[in-house]
């Protein structure tokens, strides 16, 4: 029995000329909450669709809980919960009817978990799903997914479009629900404060590639924040090793780099920098800088100075 919950090897998915996933290899161990972050178009949703067998890879393969994604059995599917950003549920049905429908498929359905989670939201069982607010629908969706007692729960940007209150309720419900100990949660989100609160492992995807798979703390250690003064002979951005971003605040240069150790201050000195300070960086800033560094820009955009 594999210890891996998710395993992808050289997974590539191409849509026409566009490569959505490029030679993507990822191993996720069982248990814990794993956050996947990436800018729009990084390939996160494609990855989930490939994992669930809803698309076939152009090359490579993926496994979910030891079984190949393309041939998941009904039993294996029953162990996977999936919540998408649209909270797609049958809008023509009443809440109670949808619950009954889902419940009928899962013999291990846990009423306590369902009630625990749904209590965070103001959902009337007699209401039609289409009449629920986005937040209520998200809560209802989550409560059903957790009540199924899945071994693997995939949450694909579940708080997208939710207001602060609904987002708060969603996270509380997710964190405090009595879920199975060995449940693995894959949480995909753009909200760094959510990731910071719940994620035990941080996976970053960029342009269909895996660029980080570590704990959030380890990731933050990779990002260095330097504040310095510089004369006019400062190097160009692309000449700075591991350069992520630069801003000028009160006449001082604020530079973020990746994978540059303490020796980087030596480099800065060599380049004419003075009054060099290294500051700590929070996860949100680190991830944002990491993601925006490779963001596509017009070629002739002037450097920020």
């Amino acid at each position: 029995m594999s210890d891996l919950c998710i395993e992808t090897k050289n997974l590539t998915k191409q849509f026409g000329q566009k490569i959505a996933l490029n030679d993507f290899s990822l191993n996720i161990a069982k248990g814990g909450i794993h956050a996947i972050v990436g800018s729009n178009g990084a390939g996160k949703s494609t990855l989930f669709r490939l994992l669930l067998g809803m698309e076939s890879p152009t090359s490579g393969h993926s496994k979910l809980m030891g079984g190949f994604s393309e041939s998941l059995s009904a039993k294996e599917r029953g162990r996977i919960g999936y919540v998408n950003e649209e909270h797609t549920l049958p809008g023509w049905m009443k809440v109670e009817a949808v619950k009954k429908l889902q419940q009928s498929f899962y013999p291990q359905w846990n009423h306590n978990i369902y009630n625990q989670v749904i209590d965070h939201f103001d959902v009337d069982p007699k209401q039609k799903v289409s009449a629920l607010s986005r937040g209520e629908r998200a809560g209802f969706n989550l409560s059903m997914s957790l009540a199924q007692r899945p071994t693997l729960l995939i949450l694909d940007e579940p708080t997208l479009g939710l207001d602060v209150v609904a987002r708060q309720s969603f996270l509380e419900a997710l964190m405090f629900a009595e879920t199975e100990d060995d449940m693995t949660t894959i949480y995909c989100s753009h909200q760094m404060e959510e990731v910071e609160r719940i994620a035990e492992q941080l996976i970053i995807m960029e342009q269909g590639r895996l660029t980080n798979n570590s704990t959030p703390e380890d990731f933050c250690k990779r990002i260095n924040y330097w504040v310095t003064d510089w004369d006019n002979k400062k190097p160009k951005d692309k000449e700075i090793p591991g350069f992520l971003s630069r801003r000028v605040i009160d006449g001082r240069q604020h530079i973020l780099t990746v994978d540059q150790g303490d020796n980087f201050s030596g480099y800065l000195k060599e380049q004419g920098a003075s009054d060099i300070h290294q500051l700590p960086v929070n996860l949100e800033r680190a991830v944002n800088a990491f993601l925006t560094a490779n963001h596509k820009k017009p070629e002739n955009l002037p450097e920020y100075s």
Binding site: Q14, L52, E55, T58, R77, G78, N84, E85, W92, L101
Partner: protein, 625 residues
């Protein structure tokens, strides 16, 4: 599965009830305009076909939306069971709309009007239901299949489905088989990754074969574009499109000029006289292949043409399939006034014997004639008597109904054409004898039509057909039937010239000799339409011109090579490649095209890993796009 079925059924149940009410409204409205049970209400059937197709398509497209699809599939239930739950719910809704409305109408007619309602009218409701389910499944397949050309498969099956067989059991069995066929294809297509072609080889063949039959039809239509349209555009005068000296040219001539054209190069001594006489004579046409006798319970029903009106007594006599008798109903009171069987009038059903009942549904003509395969009866409503007007000689049987024209009445049997004086036919109680008995000059299957000219001393008849002197040998033959001087075959005309080149004339065969033969065999088995026009023997007897066979062979070989090359290009697995090569070996170009459609060759060439974009593949992509 049951829970999913219920949820899906409930989703559409109000729509179904709404559509049922609308359907009833349409049928009631049509009933006001005319008798709804005849002819088979094509407008309503067409509406059923369109709506059921649309329903199947929309239902599955709604589920196919990305996140909805994951929600649907991501549950501990096999994909096949999920599909069955959805499809059964859809079918239940179709059944609410289609047959229920029909049954309501038929029951209404049966109980509240004097219309004769047979079991076949009720069972036709089931056939309508089958049409609804069938088209629903085509819609569903069109939405689910990885190949958008699967709609061609649906159309190909529809051609088989709608062919009216004279055997009701055969027709029902075909309907059921075709529905199961489509269900199997739908289940195969309903899989998590909808972009992938069918996995099973059997399903691949099942998807491809009807598609290939439709491809043949489309290729045939394409001759309009690459041959007929350019020909039309390059010709200054449209009349030049038909070449002089061809049978088409001759048939296009006015009736009075046809004899002149035929005999102008003959050695007949009296050709000028014949031509002049034909010019002055009144002309007519005897159709050889008319509608055949219907069998008990056969669809479609045209009840009006199987009824006679006794105006003097205000009675309507309609043929009842259930009784295989004519049943008379008083139009005013709605009461049954009696029955007519092979042995005459019958007061009530309790006195009917089996030998009174008709074997086939007779034609009812001119409000007095009852025509069976062997006998023409004449009714006298006043005297309540049935007299025999014509007895077909032993060993012969009528191939269609008698044709009443101005100067004569014609009857065509399998061996003879008989011409009767109208006065003889309408004379009471007397047996009518033919004025002329003309043995068919060739096989009846080779005759398409007979032109008649009433001469001063008899009839001039021109037998003709595109295969009159054998396969692809059009011709005509003039026969002079003189009143006193017997029958003379006076001239034979061979049309050596053809309007279109041989490769266009036999284009269907050229595309795929196998499918051409299969098509003929299917229709022969179904006896679906006048098969005489498509004699099986011409297909399999090897009479095709050698050029056609040669080109067909070259196209076959070329198709095999291209399929082999394409299957390598898209890395198709060995078993599937072998299957496609065998299919292409049998079927030719249609198999090649269906290979491209089903395996989405264009897309797969672009995305296959490790594939270097050679100049060749780039060129192929630009060709395909």
């Amino acid at each position: 599965m049951l829970a999913l079925f219920k949820a899906e059924f409930n989703r559409y149940r109000y729509w179904a009830i709404f559509a049922l009410v609308q359907h009833l409204f349409v049928l009631s409205f049509l009933a006001k305009l005319g008798p709804i049970l005849e002819p088979l209400n094509n407008e309503v059937t067409l509406l059923i076909i369109v709506l059921c197709f649309a329903f199947g398509f929309v239902q599955m497209m709604l589920h196919k939306r990305k996140n909805h699809w994951v929600f649907l599939l991501q549950r501990p239930l096999d994909a096949s069971k999920i599909y069955l739950a959805l499809a059964l719910a859809g079918i239940m809704n179709v059944l609410i709309v289609v047959p229920v409305a029909w049954f309501v109408m038929v029951i209404g007619f049966d109980h509240f009007t004097d219309t004769i309602i047979d079991m076949r009218h009720y069972s036709f409701g089931l056939f309508l239901a089958a049409i609804g389910v069938f088209t629903y499944l085509i819609g569903s397949l069109a939405a689910l299949s990885a190949s958008r050309f699967s709609v061609l498969t649906g159309l190909g099956l529809f051609v088989v489905f709608q062919s009216t067989s004279e055997y009701i059991l055969l027709q029902s069995s075909i309907a059921l088989m075709v529905i199961l066929y489509l269900l199997y294809l739908n289940i195969g297509s309903f899989k998590p990754d909808l972009s992938q072609p069918l996995k099973s080889r059997l399903a691949t063949v099942m998807l491809a074969l009807p598609m290939q039959m439709m491809i043949v039809t489309l290729l045939l239509l394409s001759t309009q574009l690459f041959y007929h349209l350019p020909k039309f555009m390059l010709t200054s005068n449209p009349s030049e499109l038909i070449l002089e000296g061809t049978i088409d040219y001759w048939q296009d001539l006015p009736a009075e000029e046809r004899v002149k054209f035929l005999v102008k190069n003959s050695n007949l001594e009296n050709k000028t006289w014949l031509a002049r006489q034909a010019e002055l004579a009144s002309s007519g046409v005897i159709n050889i292949h008319t509608r055949r006798f219907s069998k008990k319970g056969q669809y479609p029903f045209r009840d009006k043409s199987f009824s006679m009106e006794d105006k003097a007594n205000n009675n309507l006599w309609v043929f009842s399939h259930d009784e295989m008798l004519l049943q008379g109903i008083n139009k005013k009171t709605g009461k049954v006034v009696g029955f007519v069987g092979l042995n005459g009038f019958i007061e009530n059903l309790s006195t009917v014997h089996n030998n009174d009942r008709f074997n086939l549904v007779p034609f009812l003509l001119k409000d007095r004639f009852i025509v069976t395969e062997n006998t023409v009866y004449m009714m006298d409503f006043e005297a309540k008597e049935l007299s025999v007007k014509v007895n077909v000689p032993n060993g012969e049987k009528m191939v269609g109904r008698p044709q009443f024209t101005e100067g004569f009445v014609s009857m065509v049997t399998n061996n003879y054409t008989y011409l009767y004086e109208p006065a003889d036919m309408f004379a009471h109680f007397d047996l009518a004898f033919p004025a002329y008995s003309l043995a068919h000059p060739t096989e009846i299957s080779q005759i398409s039509r007979v032109d008649t000219y009433a001469m001063v001393d008899g009839f001039l008849l021109i037998y003709m057909g595109n295969n009159y002197y054998g396969f692809d040998k059009p011709g005509a033959e003039i026969i002079y039937a003189k009143r006193d001087n017997g029958i003379q075959n006076i001239y034979k005309m061979f049309f050596e010239k053809h309007n279109d080149p041989v490769l266009i004339r036999h284009f269907e065969y050229l595309i795929s000799p196998f499918l051409h033969t299969l098509d003929a065999m299917i229709y022969h088995t179904l006896k679906a339409y006048p098969v005489e026009e498509h004699p099986l023997t011409t297909v399999i007897s090897g009479v095709m011109p050698s050029l056609v066979n040669l080109v067909a062979l070259i196209l076959h070989l070329l198709s095999i090579v291209i399929v082999f090359w394409l299957s390598r290009l898209i890395n198709l697995d060995t078993k599937k490649s072998r299957l496609w090569l065998i299919m292409t070996g049998l079927i030719g170009i249609p198999a090649l095209l269906s290979f491209v459609f089903i395996n989405k060759v264009k897309g797969n060439i672009q995305v296959k890993p490790g594939l270097k974009k050679s100049v060749l593949s780039k060129r192929l992509n630009s060709t395909l796009s």
